[in-house]
Structure formats: C-alpha cells, structure tokens
C-alpha cells in the first residue's frame, strides 16, 4: 500500500468517525426534545422544576411535646443489632419532627367515632396502587402528582384533628414527604401522624381494605 492509499484510508476512517459522532449528537438533541415532550404529555410525567426530595432532605428537630407511640418507643431500646427497616424509618421520621403511629393506634383510630365525622382522616400517599386497595375511607394524595388531589384533601385536613398519612411501608418515604408537604402547606404538625408500617403491614394483619375510589364500599375479602 503506498502513501497515497494510506492517506485515503485514514481520511475515510476520519470521515466515518465524524459521521457517527454527528449522528449521535443529532439523535441526542432530537431524542432529548422528543423525550421531554413525551414526559410533558404523559399523565405520569414529572415536573422538571419541583424539588421532589426537598422535604426528605430537610430535617427539623423534634419538639419535646411531640407524641410517640409504643412502636417508636420500642425502637429506642438499646441493643447492638442493626436497626430494622421499621426502626430506621421511625428514627428518620422523628428526626424530621414527625409523629409516628403504629398498627394498633391506626386500628383504634379507624374505629374511633371521630373517623365517621371526619375528625380523623387517613391519607394514602401512593399513586397507581391506591385503587387496588387502601385503608377504608382514605383520601388519595399522590405525592408526585398532588395537584388533582389537593383541592379535596386540603379542606378535609382543615376539618380534621388527626391526619394519618401512609404509603407502602418499609423503605417507602412517600408518606413522610407527603406529611412534610402538608406541613409546609400550613397543616399544623400536631395533627400529622405517619403510619410507618403502611399498607404492607395493614394487609399482612388482614385488616379491611377498600378497593376502587374512596368510600366505594367495595371491600377485599379478609381471611381473619
């Protein structure tokens, strides 16, 4: 191969590399625009401007008057074992100044006369999972798409004296972020409680579960 042929080969390779890079840049630009448009159109799309984890990152020292339940007290028991998921969640909630309720407390609240009058309300912070099953009478407030729920939920919060917020449970943080969002929105902290066990524990304990819309009356069969 002579010098001229080598030079032509190198030039052709450069040309191919340039074209591939050009294509990639074009796909990135057009693809990003189309992707953003798809996100905008999608009913599940995210807002680019909102700081979804602002509430989660903002720690507020707990006030000494804040109530805790037997579960949260149990979590402070001294042992050398690593904290469980529930214990970690409770510690995290308390660090943010939120009150925690356990399963027994939630069950009591559900049978309290205040539940019938709207003085005790439940808020489900999950999204698509809500229709498949929620605590009976719970309002839905999807933390990631709150706009369409706030008009219903905020007046209910104003009338309530105890608001129990829950999500899936375990490492799910949507309930605490929803509670903090409500607190930032003017709902007094004294009213707000987070049920850290969440829907998973509620389901495990075979408690009544309502399906469909709020107060639909459709209940899942329980095997109690």
């Amino acid at each position: 191969m002579n010098v001229q042929e080598q030079s032509q080969g190198a030039s052709a390779r450069q040309s191919i590399v340039g074209k591939v890079l050009g294509e990639a840049i074009l796909v990135v630009v057009v693809g990003a625009l189309v992707a953003l448009a798809a996100n905008r159109i999608s009913p599940r799309g995210l807002s680019l401007a909102r700081d979804y984890f602002r509430e989660a990152n903002a720690a507020v020292p707990p006030s000494p008057t804040q109530a805790t339940t037997n579960v949260s007290t149990a979590s402070t028991a001294t042992n050398e074992a690593a904290p469980s998921e529930t214990e970690s969640a409770i510690a995290r909630l308390k660090a943010k100044g939120l009150q925690v309720v356990d399963f027994d407390e939630v069950k009591k609240l559900l049978h309290d006369p205040g539940y019938q009058t709207g003085s005790i309300i439940f808020i489900d912070a999950r999204g698509d999972e809500y229709p498949a099953g929620h605590i009976p009478g719970a309002y839905q407030l999807d933390y990631y798409h709150p706009d369409k729920y706030l008009l219903t939920v905020l007046p209910a919060c104003q009338n309530a004296s105890r608001i129990v917020v829950y999500c899936t449970g375990g490492d799910c943080q949507d309930s605490e972020m929803t509670a903090l969002m409500l607190r930032d929105g003017g709902v007094p902290n004294e009213k707000l409680f987070v049920y850290s066990g969440g829907m998973t524990e509620w389901d495990d304990k075979k408690e009544p579960i309502e399906t469909g819309a709020r107060n639909s009356g459709q209940m899942l069969p329980t095997n109690k």
């Binding site: 074209k19 294509e23 990639a24 796909v27 992707a35 995210l46 979804y52 602002r54 698509d128 990631y144």
Partner: protein
C-alpha cells in the same frame, strides 16, 4: 461453511442482534417511562447529583430517550450513532451499579453475587452479578453494531451521507 454462507449467517445474526437490542431498550425504557416517580426515587438513591433539576431531567427524559433509541435500532435509522449512544449510556450505568453493589457487599459483608437490589433497569430487584453480565452482553452487541454490522432491513442506516 463457505465464505458466502458465513457472511449470510453474520448478516442475519447482526440484524437479529439489532432488533433484540432495540427491543430490550424499548421494553426497559417503557417500563420506567410508565412509572417515572419510581425511577426518580432510584436515581435519587444513587446520589449522582444534588441538583433537583438534573435529577428530574434524568428521570423524566432518560426512559423516553431509551425508547427512542430502541425504536431507531429496530427501524434501522442512524444505527451507528444510536449504537454509540447506547455504549455511552450502558458503560457508565454499569459502573454505577457495580459501585453500589460493591458498597452493599462491603457494608453487609455478603458475597458480591448475593447482592440484589432494584438498579433502575426496569425489571425490579435483580441479582447484580447477573445484571452486570447482561449489561456487558448488551454493550458487546452495541459495539458490534457500532463496528458496522446490521445494515440489512434498515430504513436509513446512515443518517449523514
């Protein structure tokens, strides 16, 4: 096998590889795009950035971008440029997943291949060794296409002429 038959076999395999890779990206992208908030939480866990805008941008745009790249490959449009992008997405992502798996492996003192978590790949919780092996396979397929294979049945193999 004659040279012609071997070439034919390579050509067919390359087209199938392109369709397979495209299909995988469409599937993975759609599973994230339909539940972007779950993907947002997973990206947040990786602690890649402190900027809420960047985090939201990644979670909102990346799933759809994966779908677009997958469709381009299936259709055979700008194949090499798209394959390059897949390599550029898969390599850093695999490194990030591996780093997180190593952190869990060290923290919990469990074998690396016993580490299982939802890496944000669109399939829920996965064994990380298997996921890394899968990603390496996808990277090899993308490099194969980047090298100029899979030209048959393309709408427009080369966008810039």
């Amino acid at each position: 096998m004659s040279a012609g038959a071997a070439n034919k076999f390579l050509d067919v395999s390359s087209v199938l590889a392109r369709w397979f890779l495209g299909g995988v990206f469409v599937y993975m992208g759609m599973s994230k795009a339909l539940r972007p908030e779950e993907f947002l939480k997973l990206v947040h866990q990786y602690q890649l950035t402190d900027s809420a805008f960047v985090l939201n941008f990644i979670a909102a745009a990346l799933p759809w971008f994966e779908v677009i790249c997958g469709l381009l490959l299936v259709a055979g449009f700008a194949v090499r440029g798209t394959a390059l992008l897949l390599v550029l997405m898969l390599v850093p992502f695999t490194i990030v997943v591996l780093r997180r798996a190593l952190a869990i492996h060290t923290l919990q003192s469990i074998p690396l291949c016993a580490v299982k978590f939802d890496c944000g790949c669109g399939n829920g919780e996965e064994w990380i060794c298997r996921k890394v092996a899968e990603n390496c396979g996808l990277i090899l397929l993308a490099v194969w296409l980047l090298a100029g294979r899979g030209k048959q049945f393309c709408l427009r193999y080369q966008l810039l002429r």
